[in-house]
Point group: D3
Chain length 132, copies 6
């Protein structure tokens, strides 16, 4: 049970519905997931986060599927259950295969391991790695 | 100053040199970075971690550049200074442009933000996101 | 299911009951939450953590409601389900409104985002920010 | 040394200068800190993050000083050096005393401790804490 | 529900069964836990992680029980539910008593607290602590 | 530069000196490290944290060296530079050898890796791991 109630489309104000409509149009779906329905308790927060997601996740210098996999990598690192499920579904819908998913998890696991070896041994940055 | 000394090639045992040689050959470089030189205090640890990195970061279902960017994303999320510098350099050498790097950071930042919104509001996973 | 059983008041030793009584008196409630009932498996741990909570969360230079909201912010950042639920309830009982809660989450989300931008880009501390 | 160069006002494009001007006007200062100067490598990122900070940190249901202290709490929890220095300076400028700062740190420390006791013992959420 | 299905022994390929057999033989048990059954979707990942666990958790300079307790400490710090349950069970089977477990949690909690006091106050490392 | 000044013995109040004296007596040393000298800005915080450290790190069900190594494991996981240096020095003084240190790091790295595999794949806890 979330800490605030989910606002359904039928109960939403026109301001909230406008964001819901944009989400469904942009994603070409006919439903709204709980993340947005809970944010809708604060329409300004809903609008602001949606604008951020829309801009950041749009095609750009990186492929949308790569962005979704980076999102999964961060969510797995932070242990966010909701985000892991939702962005894995997002990556699947953009073409992530089983082999890509397990390989992604392998990279995430290894990075978390070597991050701690570097931090625990307090290894110094090589001058060669500094930007010129 | 790292918590253990860096083992230079000249002082290394044949067992350690063999790993150093593999690293330089695989990466087509003529130097060894501090991470490996500190791990070399424990040759079995050096060998094991190198084998893992070699296997996980090899081309597979994911592009090697994508893997390096995922590594940077995890390292930035964990605040690992060494790994952020070394894997950003790795991604640069594999073709990451300035635009790709700032876009990657944008995704990493946003994922860390929405991870906390989902966790802080304890949002429930939508049944639609569960695997079938 | 917790990893150790919850010790109910009826089964508790006098030493544990003394802490339970203090908690109920300090908080003006008639029940003990699971956190304390599980810590009670180690009466010295229960006593020590309770003394710390009592001292740190008492009115001081910061308002008790501000302290509860800081607690929620840290718990959301760490993804601690139990602490997010319990300290959100605590903040609610001290006067946190819906608007304060969503605004708190907005700050927590943003801080987690910019923390990663600063860490990922390895931004150097401006001399103006150093204490004099 | 940051991973991308800092863009000074004199070298900035009009688009970037417009954001710098807004930051200085909003904060009533005559300098720009490194965080923004590095984000300026990607003008859209600079503009987006600044808009978010401006909106989230404005006065609202929470006091601006409380928001800065929450920012410090999250930054300390995540170990972000840059953000800890910059937002502690921000909180100082808004009136945080020495006593308020050490008390804030005491709450942050305790929350991080009890978060791990709850997570490590896998304590179950009491039904009384669930929202009605 | 995990994001990939668990592969049971009866459905497993000979390659996967070989790892399952090694796990059961090494641990002297007659069942395989979900962690391995989900990794088995990617036989190379299963084999690699198992080899790592086998090597790292074997008796060496540290006692196997100490290693399991370190594993529990890290898992509690990261908030990993699965790992906390599985490695607490592992530590129990190697002799961890109730008193050892609650004392371990006390150390983990305290370390998480003082980590944030040190990071939040940006305390400088004393020269006496640097390795010679 | 820490965010608050270090309070030297010569400038300390009797209340602070009493804690410094206890620390030096308990640890059989003639100097005080920066952590305590910065906490001394808030004598109640200094006293409270010292009492906690003294109690938790005393011999008990776990060996003091094991406790110091658990402290190092948590500090490496959290990326706390100060705590990693200070508790590694503490563990060294209690007998941690080079081989024990690198083996400890191997366990910490592996635990961080498998924590993310379990969290990223959302693996379900086996009923066999639940306490009876």
């Amino acid at each position: 049970m979330a800490l605030m109630k989910a606002i359904e489309y039928a109960q939403a104000t026109p301001e909230v519905r406008a964001v819901y409509d944009e989400i469904m149009r942009t994603r070409n779906t006919d439903w709204i997931n709980n993340f947005w329905k809970v944010l809708a308790n604060d329409p300004a927060l809903l609008r602001r986060i949606w604008e951020n997601v829309r801009q950041v996740m749009a095609p750009g210098a990186l492929d949308p599927l790569v962005k979704e996999m980076v999102y999964v990598a961060v969510s797995a690192t932070n242990g966010c259950e909701y985000c892991t499920f939702s962005h894995t579904a997002g990556a699947r819908s953009k073409g992530m295969s089983d082999a890509m998913f397990t390989e992604l998890m392998a990279v995430v696991g290894l990075a978390n391991e070597t991050n701690r070896l570097a931090n625990g041994l307090r290894i110094e940055v090589d001058p060669q790695f500094l930007p010129r």
